[in-house]
Symmetry: C2
Subunit: 513 residues, 2 copies
């Protein structure tokens, strides 16, 4: 199995696609740009949904569902949004096909819609058109609503999970009585995303605003979480937008405040998508296959009973079943979202043990337990952790009597070990460039950066004059963009390394997905 995965050093892009394929996460479909999320990949998304949904609800949000279709005129009402999304819209123009005998199935020309409908690329317009009916008084505010759904953006270059024409996501849309409250919500939700990324995905992120040039169409400003992949490129993993009164004005959403004065409502929106699965893969996986943090793993533990014949196998299987039952019966808590520990017993006795181990390594099962005749003699088992492949990560002679507790603790250890490793990797690759030459050296030609054995790229703190012109020039010349202005980053003023003009602070430049 493992030899079908290209190494990261040889070809990072191919490595990613190999993991997606060999771990059974997703497939390209026969519909241009759309993916099929396979059961193993979808199981990760389900775990992500449960965890995020819990975080949203514990911050006072509720879920709802709004139509897939948006009348074209709705999109037109918010100019930035129309400009931002017009080029990527799938458009429904007819509502009927015709199946006549002897003729191929075709679109019925008599069933044309009076107004074309677009498939939602994001739902601000249809939702604010609805909020108009729900909001009359300050007593109706805040509205703290989230939606789990599919959206479509007709992308020309697609890549499984990272960029597809259709993807799954959640989009929060809140309405508030004051700018202050809406801004607090915008910040709260980017912090929720940070918590999820770090505590569930074990993926450290930088948090802060985007530049004006990179903000969401229709937003006053956008906050984001940015993660570093193992090739040193950035992945925008979640965004939270303060929308001001833009959508309230476009859709005439006003309310009477406590002084009975008519005001426009204040808005936020925030979202993360199945793109996170791409981020998860590229943060933790290795040349042997997928690595999944235990809190998001569909199967936490695989137990592999061993034996040459039925007589040898029977006690191994019995011990495996006993351990599985013990693991499943452990008290539930929030660490695994109040779900039981998920255990699979492998039964591929017709395959070599090495093949069986590799199979679960490729699929990223966090812990593997092996029980063979020699282990049974010693009333013990061997426990291997996926995050440390090979002998180094394998402990022999774990007593069966305490194996369930041992494995439960190990799962928690793996979760924090993965975070610490990813953070150490990232922190060692955040550097400062004080001159243009230093900057240039950090962003080699694209082809050069992709060569076999190329060093991972870095996140680069540099002074920037704050203008879109300079930002665009840097993107054109070095293929690097400003990822964010991290809240936790250095705040001292300086001189823009590109133009020599004053800079209020250093910002993070990186190549990005």
């Amino acid at each position: 199995m493992a030899d079908v995965i290209t190494t990261r050093a040889k070809n990072y892009s191919q490595w990613y696609l190999d993991i997606v394929k060999e771990a059974g996460l997703a497939d390209n479909s026969d519909v241009r740009g759309c993916m099929v999320i396979k059961p193993t990949g979808y199981a990760i998304w389900e775990k992500m949904q449960r965890a995020l949904d819990g975080l949203f609800k514990s911050t006072g949000h509720v879920n709802a569902y709004f139509p897939l279709f948006i009348p074209m005129s709705f999109l037109a009402k918010e100019e930035q949004m129309a400009e931002g999304f017009a080029k990527e819209c799938a458009v429904v123009t007819h509502y009927r096909l015709k199946a006549e005998h002897g003729k191929p199935l075709h679109v019925d020309p008599t069933a044309e819609l009076e107004e074309p409908l677009i498939i939602r690329p994001t739902s601000e317009t249809i939702i604010w058109n609805t909020y108009k009916k729900w909001v009359q008084s300050y007593r109706d505010l805040p509205l703290l609503i989230n939606q789990w759904c599919n959206v479509v953006r007709w992308e020309m270059r697609t890549r499984l999970f990272l960029r597809t024409a259709e993807f799954l996501w959640q989009e929060g849309h809140t309405a508030h009585a004051s700018a202050q409250e809406a801004e607090a919500e915008t910040l709260q939700m980017v912090r929720v995303y940070q918590k999820f990324a770090e505590e569930w995905m074990a993926m450290p992120v930088l948090v802060g605003p985007k530049t004006d040039g990179q903000k969401f169409p229709g937003a006053v400003y956008t906050l984001c979480i940015e993660a570093m992949m193992q090739d040193g490129k950035a992945l925008q993993a979640g965004t939270s937008h303060f929308l001001g009164q833009n959508f309230a004005k476009a859709f005439d959403v006003t309310f009477k405040d406590k002084e009975n004065k008519e005001e426009f409502a204040w808005a936020t929106s925030w979202g993360v998508s199945t793109r996170l699965i791409g981020g998860l893969i590229m943060t933790h996986s290795d040349d042997n296959g997928l690595v999944v943090p235990p809190r998001l793993a569909a199967t936490h533990v695989v137990i592999v009973p061993l034996g040459k014949n039925d007589a040898e196998r029977a006690p191994s299987i019995a011990a495996a079943e006993k351990l599985a039952a013990e693991l499943r019966a452990l008290p539930r808590d929030d660490f695994f979202g109040y779900e039981p520990i998920s255990v699979k017993i492998d039964a591929m006795f017709d395959k070599q043990p090495g093949f069986r181990y590799a199979e679960y390594e490729v699929r990223g099962v966090p812990v593997r337990v092996e029980i063979g005749p020699k282990d049974i003699e010693k009333l013990a088992c061997a426990v291997a952790r996926r995050d440390v492949p090979g002998k180094e990560g394998k402990q022999f002679g774990v007593p069966l009597v305490s194996a369930a507790d041992h494995v439960a603790k190990l799962l928690r250890d793996i979760q924090s070990a993965l975070y610490n490793r990813a953070k150490a990797f990232r922190d060692s690759r955040i550097v400062t460039a004080n001159t243009l030459d230093e900057f240039k050296a950090l962003f080699p030609e694209r082809e050069e950066a992709k060569e076999a054995g190329a060093e991972p790229l870095k996140f680069v703190y540099a002074h920037w004059d704050g203008t879109k012109e300079t930002e665009d020039r840097v993107q054109k010349e070095y293929a690097a963009t400003i990822r964010c202005l991290p809240f936790d980053g250095p705040q001292e003023a300086g001189t823009c390394i590109f133009t020599g003009k004053p800079s209020t602070r250093r910002v993070i430049f990186a190549r990005a997905y």
Copy 2:
């Protein structure tokens, strides 16, 4: 509140719409035929999803996700399906809008798709086109996959939850190596739906096959669950289809069996949708508002502290908070899907108690606890159950010290009481017609049946000659259809009451949603 709900006796259809509106379950949107599922309605759907998903997984199924778009040619490949769905398809023909300055936003005529895409009305075609790549050998079977998603069927007459252009559902699609195994799956899944309907929704159902005339386009046969609403009309609440090899042949899905012989795979599909929310409403609700069985209620308990002033209110609030904490801390089990009991403390002290009680009655909260100064004196509270409105359902003097256990037990009692009540209602309205005159008398003119004070309709067991002609004639003349041939129904042969021809068994006729 309650007086804004039309009584069932006065106008049953309006009663239904009033409940949907006043309980805050859903709204019509400005997009033709599409609904907005509001937070209270969506919370019921979330509970349904959790419970169903657990039942699917415990029967070995996994979730996945397939594209929203289906190329028109895929639909054309299975003739019955093309004929069945052609007239209801939303069609995407373009992939770009154009926003030019000075011109209104419009469809870009240069961005026409080579092949139109339809929005999935159901996913057999796209899924079997994918299974072609996944299935080579009997070792790849069975595939036991489910999808949670939105689908679109361009219906002309829509009604919130019961019939909308876009709705949410799950669709299971399984592939098997033998007809026998696929048929066992078809039966298993309709039994899963029965279990969910009866044990979670507290809605009794008849289970059995549809007639050939009523089966799903592309199916060999369809099994269904049919429920009776309070007006005596039937609601098809879930279907499970044995698809034979129809889709395997249309999409060329073959596998090598154990003898290395090439065979077409055998298929099933099965689904339930947000229509179930309509069924839930019409099974249990009353003239005071929504009634939700506790296992599907988003809020299980509302505690209403009472008092004329702050001094009186403070101890009521303290007792309410203590009880809420006790309820939330009760051990979790499968009855509530391992979620804690959900408790809300009402704080509308500026409203009259009667108003506050009515508010939660309209919204269907199963249990209301009232704690006022007189209760505090007695270290007690009053507990009202939603399924028995008024004094009859209210128990005074429940000791606070044991109130949490009392309420937890009451929630379970309400669940079974609702089922028993619905079953008694239905069973008393299943009758037998042995002559055409008896049959005619049971299906009055449509307008007559809808008059204020009209008796609920009945499910009618009658002999039928087994032909589509007779079935169509009955539908035309009496607006009644054959709902199913219940597995548990009487099996003796007889004479068709419509044609005098032989009948192998009685079938269930009813008017339906």
